[in-house]
Each structure stands twice: as C-alpha cells, then as structure tokens.
Symmetry: D2
Subunit: 350 residues, 4 copies
Amino acid sequence: MIQERNIRVGVLGATGYTGLELLRLLLRHPDITITVVTSERSAGQTFSDVFPAFRGQLDLQLSPLKVKEISKQTTVVFSCLPHQQSMPHTSAFLEYGSKVIDLSADFRLDSTAVFKEWYGAHVAPQLLQEKVYGLPELYRDQIRDSFLVANPGCYPTATILGLAPLLKNGLIAPESIIVDAKSGVSGAGRNPKQETVFSEVDESLKPYGVERHRHTPEIEQELSKLAGCEMHIRFTPHLIPMNRGLLATIYAKALKKMTSADLLRIYEKHYTSETFVRILPPDQLPNTKQVRGSNFCDISVRYDETTEWITVFSALDNLTKGASGQAIQNMNLMCGLTETTGLLGTALIP
Amino acid sequence: MIQERNIRVGVLGATGYTGLELLRLLLRHPDITITVVTSERSAGQTFSDVFPAFRGQLDLQLSPLKVKEISKQTTVVFSCLPHQQSMPHTSAFLEYGSKVIDLSADFRLDSTAVFKEWYGAHVAPQLLQEKVYGLPELYRDQIRDSFLVANPGCYPTATILGLAPLLKNGLIAPESIIVDAKSGVSGAGRNPKQETVFSEVDESLKPYGVERHRHTPEIEQELSKLAGCEMHIRFTPHLIPMNRGLLATIYAKALKKMTSADLLRIYEKHYTSETFVRILPPDQLPNTKQVRGSNFCDISVRYDETTEWITVFSALDNLTKGASGQAIQNMNLMCGLTETTGLLGTALIP
Amino acid sequence: MIQERNIRVGVLGATGYTGLELLRLLLRHPDITITVVTSERSAGQTFSDVFPAFRGQLDLQLSPLKVKEISKQTTVVFSCLPHQQSMPHTSAFLEYGSKVIDLSADFRLDSTAVFKEWYGAHVAPQLLQEKVYGLPELYRDQIRDSFLVANPGCYPTATILGLAPLLKNGLIAPESIIVDAKSGVSGAGRNPKQETVFSEVDESLKPYGVERHRHTPEIEQELSKLAGCEMHIRFTPHLIPMNRGLLATIYAKALKKMTSADLLRIYEKHYTSETFVRILPPDQLPNTKQVRGSNFCDISVRYDETTEWITVFSALDNLTKGASGQAIQNMNLMCGLTETTGLLGTALIP
Amino acid sequence: MIQERNIRVGVLGATGYTGLELLRLLLRHPDITITVVTSERSAGQTFSDVFPAFRGQLDLQLSPLKVKEISKQTTVVFSCLPHQQSMPHTSAFLEYGSKVIDLSADFRLDSTAVFKEWYGAHVAPQLLQEKVYGLPELYRDQIRDSFLVANPGCYPTATILGLAPLLKNGLIAPESIIVDAKSGVSGAGRNPKQETVFSEVDESLKPYGVERHRHTPEIEQELSKLAGCEMHIRFTPHLIPMNRGLLATIYAKALKKMTSADLLRIYEKHYTSETFVRILPPDQLPNTKQVRGSNFCDISVRYDETTEWITVFSALDNLTKGASGQAIQNMNLMCGLTETTGLLGTALIP
C-alpha cells in the first residue's frame, strides 16, 4: 500500500473522554488533518468552547452526525460513540469509502449470539465477521488490510497482552486464570452518575460488575484463540480513586516448575519487536503512573515457588493504549504509516 | 473477672499513624484515662503541639519510654512502636503488672524460626508462646484471660476473617488460595520515604512486596490453624492512592458446586453473633469508604458457576479494625468491659 | 429551661451529605433518639440499605415528608432539604410544637427583599424575623430561647468567626475586605452534576461563582451587624479536589500599625470561652485536615508590616462546624443541654 | 542570528521534577539532541532505570556534574539544580561557550543585597547583572541575545502575567495588591519531607510560607519595573492536594470605575500576539486542569461594581509554563528557533 499523505480524519462522539484523548493525540500526529468532530449534544459549539484546554489548538465547530457529508471529508472515521450507537452507521461509512475504527464494543465480538447475550440484537451482524480485532500485537497484518477495525477494550488489552506469552507457550492450566483488574475512574465516562461523583469515589476502593462485566466475553474470545481451546476466566474489576490508569493482576497455575527468570526470558522474546509492550527488568514492577498519557503497556511476570502460581502484572493508560492511542496505532497501520507515528513520548509524571 | 473502672492506659510510640488513631478512639472511650504518651523524637512537646487536631482534647506532654515509670501509671500499655522495638521492653511491662497490647509484628508469629526468617532473632522468644493472637472473632476467650496480646496486621485481619467460614467448613481447595490485596497509603506509616511522597503516589497504582511481604507468614499461620493443615497462599498487595482503607479480594476454588446464596447463608451463620463483621446483602459489595474510621469489616462472597471459583471481598479500615480499633476491642476483652465499648459509630463519609 | 431528656429528633432530607453527617454525629449523642428520617426519592428503603456504612447502626426506614406525623414523633426537626423546599413546611412544624433547625438558606437572611433578589419570593416572610441566626458564638442566648434556628452556611461560618474580633474592635477599613475562600467538593452536594464528576474535579483547581455567590449577602448581613455599618466584601470561592474542608483566607487593611502578637492576644481574648473556636499558637497555621470530621474552627491571624494588611486564616469542616455539627450545637442550646454534648472529639487523620 | 540546527542540550540535576518535565518536553522537540543528564545521587544509572516511564525513550546514563566535559557536549545547559548549587558553576559554563538556562532562583534577582537577605551571599554577583529574566512575554528581545537566562519561578510567572496589563495601563492602586496563590504539591520537589508525605497532604488544604515566601522579592522586583515605582504585595501561597497546577487569584483596587468588559478588551489587546497567554472568554474562568502538562497560562479578569475590586485569575502548570516549558521557550528564543517549537499541544485531561 502506498502511504496516504495528509490523512483526513473525523471523530464521532468527540466530547467523551476517549474522543478527547484521541484529539489530544491527533494534534501531535504529523500526517493527519482533523476535518470533522461530531457531538449531538454540543453541535454548533466550537470544540474549544466545550474544552478550554483546546483553545487555540482545535477551534473546529462540532457538527451533528451526518454520514454522507462526513464521508466526503474523511479518509478515516474514529467512532467514539457509546455502545450500540455506532453499528447503525458503520456500513454506510464503509460504502462511502471511509475507513472506520470503532472504539465501542459494537464490533469486538465475533459471535452474533454472544453479542446478543451481552448487548442485545446486532443490526449489522455481517460486519462482526468482516471487522478485524484491533490489537496490533496480535493482528498486525490483518489490520493493515482492514477497512473496519474494532478497537479493543481497556481491560481486554491489558489482559490479553499479559497472558499471550503464557498461552502461546502452553505454560498454564487453562481453568486456573484469575484476572483481578483495577481501573481509574475515567473508564466510566464523562456523563454524571451517582457512583462517579467525586465525593463518592475519592478515598474509596470497591469491586464492581462482579457477576457480569461486559469485557469478560471479549477477553475469553481472544484468550480462546490464543490457547486453541475454549477459555473461561474469573474476571473482577475494581474502581480506583484516580483518573487514568489500569492494572491487571493476573494469576495462573503453572503446568510445570520454572523460575521468574525463565518467564522473563519468554516474555522478552515474545515481545522483542514490540515498541509499545515493555517487559520490565526483574527488579521493577509496573506502576500506572509510569504509563499515564503514553501508549505503552508495561508488563512484569513472577513465578512463586511455594504455590506454583504465576503472577503477571500488566499496566496501561485506559484512555491511551487502552483506547485512543491504540486506535491511532491501528490508523497508522491501516494507512500505511509507521506504526508508532505520533505515539512515542513519555508519561506525564508526576 | 471484675470490671476495672477507669482503666489507665499508656500509648508507646504515640506519634505514628496507629498511635494517632488509637488516641482518637480512646478519647471517645468512656472507661479509660490516657495517662502516658511516649515519643523519643518529640519527647517534651505537648501532644497537641505535634498534632493540632488534638488541641483542647489531649494536651498531655510526650515523654520518653521509661518502663518502670510508665508501668506505675498504667493498667494497659498499647505499644505502637515499630517492629523489633517493642520486644525488648515487653517482659518488663508484664512483670511490673501492666497488660500489653502490641500493635507491631513482634509477637504475632508462633514460631521463633519463622520470626527469624522474616524479621531476625527474637529477644523474648518465650513470649511468642505466651501471647494470644488478638483477633477476637477467633480467640475471644483466650484474649479475655491474656496479659499479652499480639494485635494482628491489617492484611491478615481482612484475609483471615474473609476465609474463616470457608476453611472451617472445608469448602475450598487449600492450594488454590489467591489473596489480591489493596491498601491505602497510611499503612506505610508517617515517616517520609521516596515512595510515599504525595506526587509519587497520587494518581498511581502499583503492586509491591510481591516476592516477600511480611504479612504472608502471619496469614498462613492462622489459615493453617483454621484448616487443620499447612496452608500456603499467593499474597499480592497493591498500593492505592488514598489514605485509609483496605480491600482483600480473595479467590479460592470450590470443592463442590454451590450457589452464591448458599455461601451467603454460611457466612451469615458463621458471623451471626459478631458486631464488627458485617455480611452484606446479596445486592451489595464492600467499599472501603463505608468503613473508613469505623471498626467494621464488611464482607461479601460470590460463587461463579462457570469457573467454580469463590470470590470473597473483605474490606476494613487499615488503621481501625486493621490496627487501633481492634486493639481497643482487645483491651475491652482483657479488662472485662463490653467488647464494643467506645467502638460503635459509623464511617466518616463522604 | 429544664433539660429535656431523651430528645426525639427527625431529619428531613436525610440522604444528602448534610443529612448523612448529622446522622453520623447524632448516633454518638447521648441524649437523643432518632425517630424519623425522610427522603422523597428513597422512601420505603431502610437508611442502611441506602448507606451501607450505617448497617447495624441506623436501620430505620426512610419515610416521605408528612408534617403532622413527624411532629408527633419529634421534639426537634432538622431540615436538610434543598433551598426553598424547607420554607413551605416550617410554620406547620412550629405550630405542631416541634422545634426546627433549618440547614438550608431559607431563613438565614433577615430581609425579604434581599431573599427575593438571591432566591426568589419567600413563602413565610414573617419567619425571617422570628428565626435566630444559628451561630452560637454570636447569638448563644437568643438561640437558647428560639424555636426556629437558621443554621449558617459553611463559608459564612468561617468568614464571620474569622472577622468578628477585628470588626468588634474596629481595627480594619470596612471597604477593604477580601475573602478568598476554598472548599472541598462535598459542599456541592450528593446529586450528580457534570462539574462534580470525579474525573473533572480530581487534579483540578478553579474559582467558581465569582460574580454572584449566594453566601455573599448572608456574610454581609452579619458583618454589617458586627461593624455597625453596611459592609460589602469581595467574596471569591474556589473548588479544591478533596471531600471535606473549607479555608477562608481573609484580607483586610489595618487602620493602625500593630503586630501579629497584638492580634493574637485580641483573638485569644475574644474567643477565650469558646470551645469550638481554637486560636492557634503563633507558629501554627490552620490546615483543614486538622478539623476534618470535628466541630472546631481553627483560626490564625497575621499582620504584615510592609503592606499593613491583616490576614486571617479560618478553617473548618464544611459538613461539621460548617453545617451539621453546628446544627447539633444549636440543638443542644435549644434543648438546655451542655452545648458541647456529643460534639467533642478529634479529627479523623490521616 | 542564524538558526542552529540540532542543538545539543544537557540537563543538570535531571532527576528532580523540573528535570523530569524538561526531558519529557525535550523528547518531543524536533531540533535538539539530549547529550548529557547529570545526577550526583544516581550517577552511573541509566535515566530510564530511575524513571521507568522513559524506558525506550531516554536510556542515557546519568553522569556526575563535570563542567568542562559537559560544555564540550552541549550548546545549551539547563540547570535544574537546587537553589545555591547552580551559581558556583555558571561562569565556567559560559566561559566554555555553553548557553545557560537556570531554573533555580540563583539569578532571578537583580540586587545582590536582596539576594543575600533571602538566600545568603551570592558567589557570582556580576552574573546577576548579566542575566536576563526569562519571561518571554516581557523580555523577548533581551532573551534572544542572552547567554544566561534566569528562568522565573512558578508563582512569579502566573502573578506577573496576570498583573502586567493593569500595571502597564496604570489602572490599580499600587499598595492594594493581594496575591492569594494556590499550588499543587510537585512544586515542593521530589525529595521526601514530612509535609509532602501522601497521607499528610491528601484531603488537606493549608497556607504556608505566610511570613516570608522567597517568591515575594522576585514578584515585587518585576512588578516594580512594570509599574515604574517600588511595589509591595501581600503574597500568600496555599498547598492544594494535587500534583500539578497553580492558580494565582489576584486582587487590586481599581483607580476608576470600569466594567469587566473593559478589562477583557485591555487584556486581549495586551496579549494579542502571545501564543502561550490565553485570555478566556467572559463566560469562562481558568481551571488548572485545562493547562496541565501544557505551556499555556490562562487568564480571566473581573471588575466588581459594588466593591471596585478587580480580580484576576491566572492559571498555569507549575512544572511547564511555571518551569520547564518556559525554559524551552527561552531556549527556542536563545537559539533562533520559532518560539513555540515543541511546546504546542493540549493538556492531559482528564
């Protein structure tokens, strides 16, 4: 594929947190022009009036979602709409010739039946088959050729990247996997809810979605492909009093005796060519602060001799590698650009 | 035992966070008088000069640790000294007739060998045998008759209370236990360290002490007694950007099929007479905010049909039920008072 | 007045943050029984089902607001209803014989005209005259004899207590007063709003209500009485990323040369009999953390020789001395109890 | 001046927060190469071993401070050393031909006598005269020609930018200026201190440095030049429980009647050519969150008809426009680059 220069991009649902993060990152991308930003609620207002941080940087007017018009102005459309609001428009965008990167869950699952169980009826089931699951570390080549990419969820990204080397190498008991995940509050979105009011969250810590969290089938789908058998996991998310950051602490029973050093070598080898997956040295452990605002996923792995449990720690920024940064990584691949374009740089610390 | 009226208490190492919390709670206790507070660093200063919150409430002068003098002024001594600084003085206090409640790890372990492995040589090994482990829900009667109580650690309290009904009833595979624990920063103490500087902790999330955390042998000791066999667990603590609060998320493989409702009944029955352990109704999950500053430990339990994992959530305030509140609960028992005296009341929310 | 034993109290609008704090404090009060708690939204539910922190402590059922029934069950009614929702019911409560302490702004102003300008028409204007403004440090005797107390706002409490010694002693230029106030987020209430979502507030700092904040006329009314002339202030509130706590930094031009030591003596003398106003020693400054959850207002004062500005720092917990603690202080006075009953004790730190 | 391509830069004291922020920004700068990073404490370690966020981005080895060697490798040296540790080396760097941008207070003051009063004896007093005060909005042309730039403090930057239009236009009474400033904790540096421990700061709010804060003479020096007369201000800083962000709320008495709209026009005109100073529209107020990690200073101004006070709100990120971003802005000027190079882009929100 010839590299497209000056890629024109549109962002649907630009006023949520994933839209905001996407635009922050796109402003630093050398090869794109932002041509359209949509919001039903704020249509007519300037983006920088809604988000003063963007004053002087993105003074584009927000418009309502009009598929045909937007297609004319875009090479790539990022959909940051809520779940189930993206699928009705996607076919039309594809027919009009825009590539689509969807950040909702609308196209992540392969099975119409599983989608129905967790979200309700799918209005464009054929696209579930046509899409590519946008985890570049697993599906880089398919993403390059794709016109519709389903951008993974934040918990699935951390979990799948954390477990891939173990499953590929057949090192763990499939029925033993525990994923104890922790996320900052921005994952709950920008709309006001009782449970995200500052005074409810600050100085608090709690599990949520314990019975049924919608990221479970997405994780299980991808782990099953990696393992070559149907996988079920115990997935438990927790809400952490911070804005950004996600840590998956993953436990799995080792099938044979080994050492932490063995595991480190396996992980380093597995991810040796990956820029955005960093296997930490043996004296370090992931800290979400070290990836805040960056597209890295930091991973450590340990073997406990006494109990024979393997523990994997996988940390990322839920809005960057867990959403909008990964979406740009996918765009770079789909448009023939260098995969890391516009995505390097370090976390905002402290 | 006849109830002692107007119990005179002393607090050693009163200027750390457990000392501070102890004094906050003791000020509300109707049956005690605070007679001595010690601090090597701040000796000579008034307690309320060091902690302005106590102005007008506790204007006692801080003194250096002089065992004989303190014994004369106290019925009960709470030791909030750092690990290994308490054990050299304890025998003397007991000989002079003061009861001792030790909040450090100095007397929690039963085995001199295990103590040596984790902390170094013990200078009063006979007291390891004489002490009672101060978890009233397990050892109420022994505590009533004891002169030396080893007050449990915060992680052990949450974990042991969370697992006791499962182990007592033989419901789980002993080698399957995962304890994924999360704690606020006050657990790391008041002394300045690089890793507890505000800008390092705020907006961060990380595991720590993954290879060897000193609470592991304490937890394993008590779980082994409950199970009647030697137990090993995979224990992984995490640091949460908040002051107070601790949540243990505990996973264990069920030995037979059951339901969450079955487990709820078992837990409710097990803790039916306990004031400070609250089994939450089936539509609720623990949140550390709901126990902040109170002596409650809130517990939920769930069974996952697909994976046959049991998940227990156990939340408490690391400084209250996880330290100083529990110490007063022990004092009440040791002095023949109603166990809940001075300890009822609700969390500070929001 | 003869002391009433076992005062029966009701709390209207019990599920907001001032209601919650009031109930936390009332549970520790030795002379009262909580007989009624109301909530339109949660009527029928148990209080502890809505707020799990209260499980086992307050398992009363929430009822809708029925004036006559509630009057029969109460000696004192605390109204924690939103502004303008309290004034329609107050006359009836008073006629039925319940004393009323109103925590909204409905009765704080003396002037019907000023009330109309800031809130709209008043439906019970005669009560504006009958009420007593519930700041015990100013109106203790009137409160003792009152049946309707208008509990002051949080900003007014901190500001008026901070300025009273200066105005009473005629030390400052009346037109020079600047009040730069800072408050935690709980002051904005429990209802979800865009601007109180965690991710919007956390790691942020901003002024708000700069043109017109409704606490301005309340502050000016009371300062004018203290000064004996009409006073106007420049009042600027700021939102701080924390739950509780309020600091008013007050600037006023000195009318003559003096020293910080002079001012300290004046403040100490002015508040010498007040338990809940603490004038800090010269080497300390107020910190909201030192009053969190307690009924104290901590004050420091400084004179700057170079500029001849006096600076007063006045810190309190907006939900305690700034709302519900002060309401109980008023109840104690109205019911002939010792003013400090149930209100002593220290902050929750850390 | 001819533009220098590929400017080689060194950072002294690279492991503090201003060093860290400088390196984060320099990694995004297209025209520079980072050749040296120094740290006495961590010399020999790789920068990314000390700060895992930089893994794969800056794997340079930290070296001790050796002036001659560093000069050979650098066009520009940024000194992020603590106060008084920079001045002994600066002359040598200049003699060896490196330009120096000093982020400490060592060269900010013009007067040796004033420096002595606040910091002690100056070891290179002639440089106090030769330096340029690095506030580009005031001294752009002088900075272009300078070899030694004293990078302003964070409070001074916000305050001076906030007051310049009022002083230049003679609109306020000079003796009336109040600066009530609020800062996040990163301003206190990375070294552990009792007062920056997380549990001491979190959920707290306090004034500090009330009698003498070292930024006062720096602010007064620059305001005096702007006003053309000796100026004294009442400057009061406060510590806010957040990492980054600074807000100066500035009060000054208007010399004549005006409106907020008049003031807005004056500010817009004054800063019309400035990229990094944004005058907000009349319906907005600064929020530190909107400038976090960006080089903007957001300003609003209001006139209060009742009291005739003008209030200015000036917000910036203390580590970016308040330190390291401004340092790069100065470097761009000193090296003939476009002033905004590497500095555009929006805040990290949420």
